[in-house]
Amino acid sequence: MTDEAVVAVGLVKEFGSVKALGGIDLTVKRGQVVGLLGPNGAGKTTVVRILSTLLMPTSGYAKVAGFDVVKNPAEVRREIGLTGQYAAVNEYLTGRENLTMFGALYHLPAKYVREKSAELLESFDLTDAADRPAKTYSGGMRRRLDLASSLIAQPSILFLDEPTTGLDPRSRLGMWDVINGLVADGTTVLLTTQYLEEADQLADEIVVIDHGRVIAQGTAETLKDQIGGDRIEISVIDPTRVNDAVNAIKTVSSGEPVVEDLTISAPVSGGSTVLVSAIRALDVQGVEVGDILLRRPTLDDVFLSLTGHAAEEDAAPSDEPKKRGKGRK
């Protein structure tokens, strides 16, 4: 068994004249959780579809569980579970029937499927709804059923394509719990997300992609360090005193403060002692402060500094091959 669950080298995918992937390199080690982070149209789904044998790369190659996705798709499919952006379950069938059907199509023994289905329904909190058509499920329940469907054969590698897109915050937290549980059991996970918080929460390593290219890679911490240290952020109560506050902050900051309405933020070095100096400086100026905090850069800051645009910002429609019909060649 190879140490690498997923290896992709120079993956290029063109849809007609649109280049969805411009040469992606990616490695996921066994037992690791890698988050593929990028805005809409960055190429995340295309990567997952190539790795799960649904799409052929235009060039480059990829191995999943040691098998080439183009030459040995059948072997790859036996090792993976895929949960797409859409709850890919038959909504007319009940939760249990869906699991039974997918289990049979994985060619698993009926008795095993029966027991495993019951176990999955139980652990995903779907036992009460198990014999109702999936049509009656809430969005969160459908996603959990979808994830359960991809786990029926106990895959060693799991692809999760935007597993929480469209879910309300509570369902999202529930989904995170479920995913963290799988990871604790040793499943290798490659997940895509456009939520920076989600990648931060779930992934050991983050690969940031934009316009079909990897633009940064590393742990959440290294990515944050890459764009510099901590920032101090204060909010002023009296609008007329903003300038005084900026002058006070300048005396402690290591860079130019940024003003947005009543909030001033600036890069600082020196850890928490800088807070004390800042408060003193503001006190000398006699500026009343509503809020003061020292924060590490978020992945939002990382994204902004890497790409020049925010992560949630939609890419131009022409960069979005999945909206152009069915990705046909």
């Binding site: 890919a88 994985y106 019909g325």
Partner: protein, 283 residues
């Protein structure tokens, strides 16, 4: 960590069939969950029977017609029923078109394609279930026909052969329907595209009017239309009036021509749609 469960082994054709049976089984379960859809797919042909039997019944003369208007209408109804059967089984294709388009739009196809299942099984199973649903439709239609005066006079074995021929035809058109469904960008387009070709297919035939009543340039087109030979073969097998046939090879060998066309259509469209399926992805 690898999958700890041992999967079963079987040759490829065996998997296509056994996976197809699984897909088919759950596709039929799905039918039972939406009784409304089944109900309306039964209502439409029944309405056709009533409209044609009573609205057009007296207006379309069939060779062999008796003297009274009542006789003429009764003969037309016996002529009509195999036509309605033929038209109805042809329309089974529309359900396959919508079914495939729907499975693509919900991402279900992506999931199926990521499973280690046989590549033809989803289509084999779906088309089989779509054709199997026609058994119930034919039953309801036969009862309706009986109530308006249609009679089987050709013997029980011939009648069984007629029903089997109709089901074979249904199975072959569901492959055409599935191929169209896979090529459509969304469900809305699919539901229109799935129907539009079926009207000329079924009306450019002897299903409702004798070929001799059509303009002479249209007759050969209708004569080579497999719906015409299906309906003619069915009329002969049920012992219903056939009218007088123009002299074309398919009309002289309707059963053979129908079986041959069905086999050809299945071979072509199964190849096309399975190839398309293995390359297609959701949306």
């Amino acid at each position: 960590m690898t999958a700890s469960v041992q999967t079963r082994k079987r040759p490829l054709l065996g998997w296509n069939i056994s996976d197809g049976v699984v897909v088919s089984r759950f596709s039929l379960v799905q039918t039972l969950r939406v009784p409304e859809l089944m109900f309306f797919s039964l209502v439409q042909p029944v309405i056709f029977v009533l409209l044609f039997a009573y609205v057009f019944g007296g207006a379309i003369p069939i060779a062999g017609t008796g003297t009274s208007a009542e006789d003429a209408a009764n003969i037309y109804r016996n002529y009509l029923m195999p036509g309605i059967f033929g038209q109805t089984v042809a329309f089974a294709a529309a359900a396959s078109t919508v079914g495939m388009a729907e499975a693509m739009s919900t991402g279900l196809i992506d999931r199926f394609r990521s499973l280690p299942m046989a590549s033809g099984a989803v289509l084999i199973g779906r088309t089989f279930a779509d054709a199997a649903r026609q058994i119930l439709v034919l039953l309801v239609l036969s009862i309706t026909g009986f109530l308006v005066g249609w009679r089987i006079t050709g013997g029980i074995w011939n009648a069984i052969c007629a029903y089997l021929l109709l089901l074979l035809f249904a199975y072959s058109v569901t492959w055409v329907g599935a191929s169209i469904g896979l090529a459509m960008p969304n469900v809305e387009t699919a539901s229109t595209a799935g129907l539009v070709w079926l009207f000329p297919l079924t009306f450019l035939s002897n299903a409702f009017v004798p070929l001799s009543s059509m303009p002479s340039w249209l007759q050969p087109i209708a004569a080579y239309n497999p719906v015409s030979t299906l309906v003619l073969a069915t009329r002969e097998l049920f012992g219903n009036p056939t009218g007088i046939q123009p002299d074309y090879w398919p009309l002289n060998h309707p059963t053979l021509y129908t079986i041959g066309s069905c086999a050809l259509v299945i071979a072509i469209f199964a190849t096309l749609s399975i190839r398309k399926y293995t390359k297609t992805t959701a949306k």
